[in-house]
Symmetry: C2
Subunit: 293 residues, 2 copies
């Protein structure tokens, strides 16, 4: 997805919000804002928003002097998600359609962000979100039949992770796929370096994803999968995998114009993406991009 | 009110929104954004937000090559408000407390902006807003007793206008004051030059305010009353008037730290002002600044 002008106020909003979360004082927050301002006249609107996101988070990391300023937040999200995991797992195994439930829950897992404090809050939010899937089906943004068909035929599946915490819900999805479809080779990609609360190898190990899938870093240090900064190994897997499942809005924004088949699982978190997709903010989506291409 | 960092994303949002409204194409919108970006590193956070608002709207006027790009929008707002005027006037005269109703309605008039299309919409919105005044009373943000006392004692009253359309509701307030308190000298200040949909002399004449008050331009071409760019005549009146009534958020932002007594009538339109005041977005307020100073 290209960068729309409406992304620009949001770049500043994110820069301020994240500068505050990592503990920069107002003066340093302003310096980050000033740096972002100086870059704006030179950005290309044909680049995807995570390209600017990458720059913003590099500026914040430099200003706070830490390579992983969201480390504690990610650890907290992982702890909370680990507590919710058994309940979520049960929801899936006891469901009439475990794959559908696992997909929905994996998308819903996206609500575990810095604002969420307890496992109770997570459980409540998930219940709310699960009710939305039916609407998405009706709107034609839940290509579950195509997803099942692709799963059945795929030998190797690349799953692009998104946030810490949420990764426990991806684990449920991987486990469900393995239970239902037997021994697929599943590769779980994480970011190459820390960026916001996005998953890294550390989170994958904490979650135990490495026991059920091959974990690889994409090489990207953007809050998305920007192919031209990804490693050769990752790009090769991305190209050759029978099926690619992309989690979250950042991965969608950076890969929505790629020509290969991708299944995008995301919660629509802003009006710009909603408009780009022709849907609404808050919707949960399983988008088979061939239906758009 | 100072400029908070959270005002910065909003400067960009406003610049984009207004560039679109006046009909700039995307390329020119981006050029306006680029100019705003270049200015951000040099702004003072101790200046009030309308100072930056002024610069943004100067950039937009230059880009579209018009001195008054909101002219048609203001005319439309005035036409709609003129249609609603008799109903609103009746609401006040038939009220148990006509002054209170006139104040409420004058604040509520602020909803007539570019988004409103019909008089029916205006009537509906006003009904909704009027219900909010009771909450503001409870929250301690409706200093009506002090307002009445000041009105009674004042010989000359300076009323600072805000938007086109809304001016018809200010007319009702002035008429009500005159009916209840006899022959006060009322001065109605408008912007010195066009800026967004703010009132100018032209709107005051269309509304017939000049028949019931002395109309003067403040000299400010900002979406607020920035004293150091106002005319000497205006500053003298501002200083010497027995009572100053300030309408709208822009006037509040630019005058909230002035030492003289001011009654601020406004609808709180953003989270930053809400936080600065300790109230909530959407609240309607009659604030006697001496209670804060």
């Amino acid at each position: 997805m290209r960068t729309y002008l409406d992304c620009i106020p949001c770049f500043f909003r994110q820069a301020i919000e994240c500068s505050r979360i990592v503990g920069l004082d107002e003066e340093k927050q302003k310096l980050v804002i000033d740096e972002v301002s100086r870059i704006i006249p030179n950005i290309s609107l044909s680049a995807s928003p995570p390209e600017m996101g990458r720059v913003i988070h590099q500026l914040i990391k430099r200003a706070i002097g830490k390579e992983d300023p969201f480390k504690e937040i990610k650890e907290k999200s992982n702890r909370i998600a680990k507590e919710v995991y058994p309940l979520v797992k049960k929801k899936v195994t006891c469901s009439k359609d475990p794959l559908l439930k696992a997909v929905e829950i994996s998308i819903a897992g996206n609500i575990i962000d810095y604002a969420v404090n307890t496992s109770i809050e997570v459980e409540k939010e998930i219940e709310k979100i699960l009710k939305k899937e039916e609407e998405s089906f009706k709107k034609g943004f839940f290509h579950f039949d195509e997803f099942k068909k692709a799963l059945k035929n795929a030998k190797d599946i690349l799953l692009l992770g998104d946030n810490a915490g949420e990764i426990f819900f991806d684990k449920v999805l991987i486990e469900t796929i393995k239970t239902l479809y037997g021994n697929k080779e599943i590769i779980y990609a994480v970011r190459g370096k820390p960026v916001i609360n996005d998953v890294t190898v550390e989170d994958a190990l904490f979650c135990g994803i490495d026991k059920i899938a091959k974990v690889i870093p994409s090489g990207s240090d953007a809050p998305g999968t920007i192919l031209n900064i990804c490693s050769e190994e990752f790009k090769e897997i991305f190209k050759s995998a029978d099926m690619v499942i992309s989690k979250g809005q950042g991965n969608f924004e950076s890969l929505s114009e790629e020509k290969r088949e991708i299944f995008f699982l995301l919660m629509v978190k802003c009006d710009v993406v909603a408009k780009d997709l022709g849907t609404e903010k808050g919707d949960i989506i399983l988008l088979y991009n061939k239906k758009r291409l």
